[in-house]
Amino acid sequence: MTHSPADLLTAYRLRWKRRRLLGRAWRRRHDLRPVSDRRAAIGPHDILAFSCIRNEILRLPWFLDHHRSLGVSHFLVVDNGSDDGSAAYLAAQPDVSLWSTLASYKASRFGMDWLTWLMMRNGHGHWCLTVDADELLVYPYCDSRDLRALTHWLDSTGRPMFGAMMLDLYPKGPVGDHPYHAGDNPLDVLEWFDPSGYGIRIQQPMRNLWIQGGPRARSFFTADPRRAPTLNKVPLVRWHWRYAYVNSTHSLLPPRLNAIYDTGGAEAPSGLLLHTKFLNTIVTRAAEEQQRGEHFSNSAQYDGYYDALTRNPDFWTPQSRRLTTWRALESLGLMSRGGWI
């Protein structure tokens, strides 16, 4: 392979960017106060999950069970000032290690500094799944093969990462009108999704994907599509302490880990993060998030988005699809088994 001087310069810059991110994470380590530390139980081949949460008591039971049943052995969670009992609930779980912080979510790169630190310390050599409490990972064969099978196969094919796009789920009718109780399957309420209409481009210099679209883009961002939420993610990585997520889990460094897609016409393996953001609580939560201004770097520009959410929107269209099996999601072209049979 030949590298032009410009490529080498880019690689050098990204290297320093990665080091800066690791340095930030290291400096922010004091934000975290250990609440319950059960890391001694982590075995050398365990699959770990990392998550930063705030007031997710409603979603946590299902979130933990879903990923437990997929084969996650231990959850390392940062609680950013919950006041709904999330912290107590997590502290009581036998497979959760919990840290808490009241520091600013935004100033910690939306929690990524904290998670980077935890991953640097605990993730090295493990397959690490970094997900939010409103994300449920699915992938080809997830009904019969657990994450150990998937990661073992990824290891054998020499892929240290696995991409999973966020798939926004929504109910039929206004989102606030569908009650949900902790422990229920959120997919019984949020049954619908957009089967197509996702726009893809590649972003330089890290060559990560930038996927936008789905119900939020078509409902809220028609005036300024560039601001529509980013949907691509690389949540599952065989971690090395020198790796760092750059922008949520949308992209990471070193850049080769962003190559979740094949450019030669083949299909690489991929999954989906079922996004359960639009439970009925979103309507009140949006107002709170808007007021806190902790979720976007230029929060004021998203006022219209929050306003629309507080108005109890209905995302459903006659072209929406009902969520069924992973096979249906794959045949729609939203994810791919990529040679795994």
């Binding site: 099978a149 197509s196 083949a266």
Partner: protein, 570 residues
């Protein structure tokens, strides 16, 4: 231990991981009267090895053989096989057939059936053994050279040295001599050979010579027995009784719980590799319930189709699909989209209700101007089309390529047609021209017809005409470019209206080739009386219309020929 006496079939198992599963399988065979000799990779820790031995300590017909380090592609695996085979032949004199298996193998049919199968063929050696010329697979681009070069470096961990050393030997023309002129054969590592054959190989006079030679051959476990069996056996069935599949990287496929039916259908006796956590597979195939199944000839071919389809999906993908793990470079694919579609430029200007007519004669989905500046004109005025694609023009213009690719992907199975024109978004002109799925038909200059019919000030009309003409000229240059791959047809307005039926027939035939019927109903053509004068007026005002072809300025032709339904082509 049950009281079943040892029978004529013995198993040699090569194990290096997942010992609890290997122990289950070994126990299954041993309890059914098949002696088992187990080899455990030397690199496995003593603790695991001891536990493994302890788990099987109650079975007198399970023995452990001398341990060798079994690095992939090296002699250790053959040495281990030799030692274990010698042990089983020596200690279990009833054994007539030895079956070489691995710790991740799983019997798919009752061992009783396998014994009966072998009893009917007591002298047959089952081993895949083909000459290097006939081998369809190669790893690292090496075939015959496996036997004529030296391989002191590891392919897995010292790839750079491995490759350089191979290149060096090729450069200097180094060649090892093959002893006794034997013909190298290759094949699956997993065989089932008779005592006669094995003892002839293992106790033959030239064994030291052959061992010394194969010690330096690359991947000898796929060639040692496969070659030597041809020296000593006259009854070789060149196939493996073990079902094993390889992926496009040459790695063995792993079978999971969801492969249960597939494995049953194969009618093979043993399969590898089995995922150690495939609880359902182990529970099903190691229970005696499995006896119920019908006993046919092993037929791994039954499941080949599925495997080749999966490999194709991995290697070629689904054409026209752009998604998170498939984003082909531009120009990679012949078709940039998932299915054929048709683009009509100028037709809806020349004909009244062209969309309705086209949809009726072709049975396809006919949209208005998908790339109109103010909104996406989906067929039927839908606000959200298939795939939840909205009619919002800002979203479309933000990523028009994805918009079109998504639309064609989301409507697979139904041909899409749409109108296009110089007033529309022009960003995809190259994309469509280079897309072999696109059928682009242009009546150049037809955009002037709506201007001609409009009630605008002539100065505005002239300005707009100049703008549209400039855009269309640029578009036509792209369509006429030598690299264009779409099916492109261009007429100027004058020649098209002279004889509209023939072009229409051609286009319709291409859209629905099976119908092959003559068009009986033609679309109604717009009234063009006075159009020539209109063009003359543009000229008089300083704008030069060049795309319409030759229209006489004075309308000397009778109005009737410009109005109403055109001729039918007989």
């Amino acid at each position: 231990m049950t009281d079943i006496p040892n029978g004529t079939l013995g198993f040699v198992m090569l194990c290096h991981t997942a010992f609890h599963r290997a122990a289950e399988t070994a126990r299954h065979w041993a309890e059914r009267g098949c002696p088992v000799v187990i080899h455990v990779d030397r690199r496995v820790g003593q603790w695991s090895y001891d536990k493994f031995r302890n788990d099987l300590a109650d079975l007198p017909n399970v023995l452990f053989s001398e341990r060798f380090a079994c690095e992939w592609g090296t002699w250790g695996i053959v040495a281990a096989t030799q030692a274990a085979t010698e042990l089983i032949l020596d200690r279990f004199p009833t054994v007539r057939h030895v079956y070489l298996a691995s710790g991740s193998c799983l019997p798919l049919r009752p061992v009783r059936q396998l014994i009966a199968y072998l009893d009917e063929r007591p002298r047959t050696d089952f081993i895949e053994s083909v000459t290097t010329e006939e081998v369809g697979w190669t790893i690292g681009g090496l075939n015959m050279e496996r036997f004529t070069l030296r391989f002191p470096f590891s392919w897995r961990t010292q790839r750079w040295l491995f490759d350089r050393y191979v290149r060096l030997q090729r450069a200097v023309g180094f060649q090892r001599t093959i002893p006794n002129g034997i013909v190298p054969h290759l094949g699956s590592q997993w065989w089932c050979l008779t005592r006669q054959t094995l003892t002839a190989i293992l106790q033959g006079p030239d064994r030291a010579l052959y061992d010394r030679y194969f010690r330096r051959v690359w991947i000898p476990d796929e060639s040692y027995f496969q070659t030597l069996v041809r020296q000593v056996s006259s009854n070789v069935e060149s196939r493996s009784l073990t079902l094993s599949k390889f992926d496009f990287q040459g790695k063995p496929h792993i079978f999971y719980d969801d492969h249960l039916q597939l494995l049953r259908r194969s009618d093979c006796f043993v399969a590898r590799k089995i995922w150690p956590n495939a609880t359902k597979l182990y529970a099903t195939f190691l229970s005696d319930d499995a006896e119920r199944q019908a006993a046919g000839e092993p037929n791994p071919g039954k499941i080949d189709r599925l495997f080749s389809k999966a490999v194709e999906r991995r290697v070629k993908g689904r054409p026209g699909l752009y998604m998170q793990s498939r984003f082909p470079n531009e120009d990679w694919e012949n078709g940039r989209t998932a299915a054929p579609y048709s683009v009509f430029q100028g037709f809806s200007d020349v004909f009244e209700n062209f969309e309705g007519w086209l949809s009726k004669v072709t049975g396809s989905r006919v949209h208005g101007h998908l790339f109109a500046p103010d909104r996406v004109e989906f067929a039927g005025g839908e606000a959200v089309f298939n795939g939840s694609i909205p009619d919002n023009s800002a979203l479309r213009d933000y990523n028009p390529r994805s918009f079109l690719a998504n639309l064609i992907w989301a409507t697979r199975g139904e041909r899409q047609c749409f109108q296009f024109g110089p007033a529309d978004l022009q960003e995809l002109n190259w994309f469509m021209a280079l897309d072999s799925n696109a059928q682009i038909s242009v009546i150049s200059g037809a955009w002037a017809v709506p201007l001609f019919k409009s009630n605008r000030n002539f100065a505005d009309i002239r300005r707009e005409a100049a703008r549209l003409q400039k855009i269309e000229i640029e578009h036509l240059a792209i369509l006429r470019h030598s690299t264009a791959k779409a099916r492109i047809r261009i007429w100027n307005l004058a020649e098209f209206i002279e004889n509209p039926m023939e072009p229409l027939q051609t286009i319709v035939d291409e859209i629905s080739p099976r119908s092959l019927r003559r068009l009986t109903e033609a679309p109604r053509m717009s009234d063009l009386a006075g159009f020539g004068q209109f063009l003359q007026n543009l000229r008089n005002q300083g704008m030069q219309p060049v795309l319409m072809g030759d229209f006489p300025s004075s309308d000397d032709r009778p109005n009737e020929s410009r109005r109403g339904r055109p001729y039918l082509v007989k």
